[in-house]
Symmetry: C2
């Protein structure tokens, strides 16, 4: 057991085995992660702040070549193409690049995770041989042209068409109106030579739904005939990526440029597909693209770790002291409010990290083929839809709190927070808008709850899920079973024992989700059978509730992952402290939704009132371990790159303290006016007392 002797006392306090905990956080693909962190620590792969958009775009584009040369992007491609069929390790490595520059992570994601991945997963072996080498070595930079201006997340409703012409054996790619322009595409404004374009496939007068086509868009002279576009220009962040719009005017491509794994057109125009249901075919095609969400989840975790490692190190060093004080005072982190600001977020980041590792293993199982049943795929989709919103919103909250907790220094670009925030901001709305994804999770929860909702296809919820979030499979199994209704029995156990009991936390968190889903389901029962407008109205009246239930469900999943991870900790000291951290994570969730637990009779008023104070005591107990907790995240100075966590703060303080110590020791040091005032008052008081005493004496004498 890692312990620390408390000076003088016989007691030993638990301590964290930082190295072992750090290793556990690195997870199954520790080696890939380490390799990638080494790259992320290289200056030539890092962001230069203050570059213009054009300079930043060029730098990031050139950095992609370094990644190619270093063998950093090949892991997930087929072995035949020089890859390693290593899907989990690929994502683990890829998401660490966020630490160098989020633009680099996302630009690499566009090229290999979206564009290359679409060719790999939607194309045939012939397509692989033709295009993957050039995609992998960057001869063919490409865009992933799915989203349209008029349809953000609603892929099924895109309006770009690909009409087969049997006379020339070509597809004609066409944008019918301005709302159908492809939008927000990385690589579209500048570097892209080709694009995987999603369009409605039409042949022999039948529209077969969304399919993907390989379309050359640029050569050395610019756009090819019929192709046009616009530069999206400056964005809130990620300006190392050249996002833009694309449109097509009767652009002809060979029939064989259809990525035909899930649907093909013969020379004569006959359509065939291995999947007969158009709906299922669509979801299968889009299901191959889940890795974007998985990697955003992981990148959000990495960015949160970096921010907290910087802010906590500073809060642990920064002291408030003044010229007149002779004792060293508290550090920022000794203040309760500061503990409230940082330590619960450290707990959340651990929960996110452990949950992401589980997601990554699920992803690897499906994509490597070791566990890729329909159920596995559906679970992967739902898990990614639950975790990505949770972690990306958490990351913004964490980075912002770190920025504010470090005051004006936190606002300086050199201390990292503001750029991290600006870059990560878009993570909450791209690759599936968070609100839309949570509705997908809600749909799954309702389906698990009652068969009636399985074929939900009318109304607001359905429209959001089936259409807006249409690029994710709808599925119905594999969610954790919802627990029995939980209630506070008000047993004799003291409140703290009650609250820190894992079964109490699980029971409360699970019941929160289950009951909310049940209530909404009951309220919506029958609505699916109403005429569309009326049904939609009923659904809409419960939209907020069901989204909140989905959010609570995702948080429960994080809590479960954290609890599972505790089971893998061997060192007793670490286990003790990490159990407190898990408790803190669970209890802050309960505190956030406390009104729900009380209103629904799950916690008595009395018990609920002990929660806040108990959390405060947990924070005080964790305070001495805060630095260890963030050190275990494992990022070095080459990753943190922040002035305030470099040790300069402690240096300045030591210099000031030494100066003030010497000054106090000097005989001719200036005396404070306040001291003079106090002395004068004391002298006056003494004088009055003496006078009074003299008067009394006089009286006595006189008496």
């Amino acid at each position: 057991m890692t312990q620390q002797n408390t000076a003088g006392s016989g007691r030993t306090e638990p301590r964290i085995d930082v190295a072992a905990l750090g290793e556990q956080l690195l997870g199954k693909w520790a080696q890939d992660r380490r390799t990638s962190r080494r790259l992320a620590g290289r200056e030539d792969l890092q962001r230069i702040e203050g570059q213009s958009m054009d300079e930043h775009r060029e730098r990031v584009f050139n950095q992609l070549s370094i990644l190619v040369d270093e063998g950093a992007i090949q892991r997930a491609f087929p072995e035949a193409m020089g890859g390693a069929n290593n899907h989990g390790g690929n994502i683990a490595a890829f998401e660490e690049l966020v630490v160098a520059d989020p633009s680099l992570q996302i630009k690499a994601g566009v090229q290999w995770g979206l564009f290359g991945s679409a060719v790999q997963h939607l194309g045939s072996t012939e397509h692989h041989e033709k295009w993957l080498p050039g995609i992998m070595n960057l001869d063919i930079p490409g865009a992933f042209a799915m989203t349209e201006i008029g349809h953000g997340s609603d892929v099924a409703s895109i309006n770009t068409t690909a009409t087969y012409d049997p006379d020339t054996e070509e597809f004609v790619i066409h944008t019918p109106f301005r709302a159908a322009w492809k939008e927000f595409l990385g690589n579209a404004a500048k570097h892209g030579r080709a694009a995987v374009v999603f369009a409605q496939l039409i042949t022999n007068g039948v529209k077969h739904g969304v399919h993907a086509f390989f379309v050359p868009i640029r050569d050395d002279n610019g756009f090819l005939p019929g192709v046009g576009g616009e530069d999206d220009g400056l964005k809130g962040g990620l300006n190392g990526i050249d996002n833009g719009r694309l449109h097509f005017t009767q652009v002809r491509i060979p029939r064989t440029n259809l990525l035909n794994r899930y649907g093909d057109v013969a020379v004569d125009g006959t359509y065939t597909s291995p999947i007969s249901s158009p709906g299922r075919r669509f979801f299968t095609m889009l299901g191959t693209l889940v890795q974007g969400r998985v990697s955003l989840d992981g990148a959000a975790v990495a960015a949160s770790k970096v921010a907290l490692q910087i802010a906590t190190t500073y809060a642990h060093q920064r002291r408030q002291f003044n010229a007149t004080s002779t004792v060293q005072e508290e550090t920022l982190l000794d203040y309760q409010r500061h503990q409230r600001r940082l330590i619960p977020r450290i707990a959340t980041t651990y929960a996110m990290s452990f949950a992401h590792e589980e997601l990554l293993e699920k992803f690897d199982g499906v994509f490597s083929g070791t566990a890729d049943s329909d159920e596995d795929r559906q679970d992967l989709e739902t898990l990614a839809a639950a975790l990505k919103p949770t972690s990306t919103w958490n990351a913004l909250d964490i980075v912002q709190e770190c920025r504010e907790a470090t005051g004006g220094s936190g606002y300086m670009t050199k201390n990292r927070f503001t750029s991290l925030y600006a870059d990560l901001d878009v993570y909450v709305t791209f690759e599936g808008d968070n609100t839309v994804l949570l509705q997908l999770v809600a749909k799954r929860l309702l389906t698990d709850y009652a068969q009636e909702f399985r074929h939900l296809d009318a109304g607001v919820l359905a429209r959001y899920v089936v259409r807006q979030a249409g690029n994710v499979a709808i599925n119905r199994s594999g969610l954790r079973q919802l627990a029995q209704t939980f209630s506070d029995t008000g047993s004799e156990k003291r409140s703290a024992n009650f609250l820190k009991d894992a079964e109490t936390q699980r029971g409360l968190l699970t019941d929160r989700v289950g009951t909310a889903v049940g209530e909404v389901a009951d309220a919506m029962r029958g609505a699916a059978k109403l005429p569309q407008a009326e049904g939609a109205k009923v659904f809409n009246e419960h939209q907020n509730e069901i989204i909140e239930a989905a959010r609570a469900h995702a948080e429960l999943l994080l809590w479960e992952s954290f609890t599972t991870a505790l089971g893998k900790i061997e060192d007793e000291g670490t286990l003790q402290i990490m159990t407190w951290v898990r408790d803190l994570y669970g209890l802050q969730l309960i505190e956030k939704d406390l009104s729900w637990y009380v209103m629904h009779g799950r916690l008595s008023n009395q018990r609920a009132r002990t929660l806040g104070p108990y959390i405060n005591r947990l924070l005080a107990r964790l305070r001495p371990h805060a630095q260890d907790l963030v050190d275990a995240f494992g990022y070095g100075p080459e990753h943190l790159r922040a002035d305030i966590s470099s040790g300069i703060e402690a240096e300045r303080q030591d210099e000031a303290a030494e100066y003030l110590r010497r000054e106090r020791a000097m005989a001719d040091a200036p005396i404070d006016e306040k001291v003079l005032v106090a002395r004068r008052k004391a002298a006056e008081k003494a004088k009055r007392k003496a006078a009074k005493s003299a008067a009394t004496k006089g009286k006595k004498v006189g008496a």
Copy 2:
């Protein structure tokens, strides 16, 4: 009464008189505000996105000259100097500049609101005559050198010294160590020619505390001898301002450069002051600087209005529809979740706006001299300390939600949100860190509650308030009286009637504050008498609670301002709708802290459960008025300058709808595979039915 006939029905629905409501929002200084909005609409005063830091700095510096030429900065200066002694109007006009570019607002604030204002309020008439003309016409750009690296908000503890040398009749300004460098000063990195430097005044061996000195720092050749500094470089935003550090090595200035209104040094070194208490003198000097907080409060309101006007206009236009649907579908704002995201924030912005107007009137009373008793000054300090944190945090929340609610478009710089967020980010930590200011409010609440806390001078809270937030006067009167303990009598009235009753809302909100303060006060009772370390521990254990009480108090102040404003609305339709908006503001506050109300028995579980659904119904009722509500904010296209609220979205939709309408009308339009599948299934079913029917018939026949 402004009303609208509901088509077909005899009922009339209330409508908002947008012009009248807009006029009310413009407030007492409507004319100054309008003049300034006209300036803010001028392209040459607006931000050019994508400029480098250097270009942006030069542009903003040059824009200051435009403001001088337009007479936009003179309002608050003495009439003798060409000013108008118009303090309220000055702030009203100044804060509107945030709409053009927050850098312009803050750079102007540095030059005239801080630097110039310090000379005006801390200097003598002689100083005014010597320096104000050059400050006003920009011949003397200057920095406000108060903050030091080692002491963010703790002005009383700064370490820069100004030691009087009677031999030369000079002050020697000196920076003893690196932690005492002046930090984050606008105008310091580049444009500043002089600075008002705050330093510990030492004369005749006595340190008389912090005083302000006029110190020349630069001429055409750069820093003057003994002066040095560093450029803070890139920041998260506000890059049009040249923030930097300054340090002084035995820099000599004439004795008469001491801004001597509240403390002077004679030729022989004798110190005199009209205020005998060093503490009171310090707070009086710094009290003159409250206008920074007042104007940040107002700027946060203006930025929130702009963001909501853009996002609501878009949400009101953007429809989701697809190729197969024949009816126009809901706009984004018809979705409950979207209503939940935007409409409560509109309500909050109204509350902020009305509260700011009250703050501005209080400020004008004090600074114009029409209502400037000690009590007025103290109330002004406390009100500013309560409102500035509330509005600046709200502004970040509002701008971010608008950005997310507009999806990928919201992330494009051209749609304004991301730059507004980046610039306003620092508003929550500068001019008094929000957390520190709330502790000042907390101190006031405790002092109002019990005399014991009046002289609180030990422990965490005191240290935060007296030292960290030392630049704000501590005061004890004028807060709204805290109401009697409120409890839900569970009367017969229906829940909705109960909740929408203004007295219910006031009672709940007031009781929340009063009870929390009482609880903390009881817990801390006696702690001030403990030895310092133990007392500090007790205070620290309640720091979070008391800050939360201060936050709740500030929100109550906003609610009260809103309610007061309702009394000034004459149009009945407007009054009806604005009462709903006020209810929404109040009820969302209660919903946010709902666990408190239930745990403390102020709301029954039953009643509490009706709150969420009632808020949802309010949102649906306000939905039709959302556009009017944001139009009343009154900003024009020249202020919004956002692509997505320009009408382009509606145009694109109309084009798409027309195309799809024509397509559906064509005889040879492609047919959807899903329709074919459905037809085939129907045909198969009919065939089976026919076969079954035939079999039955055959049986019958055969029987």
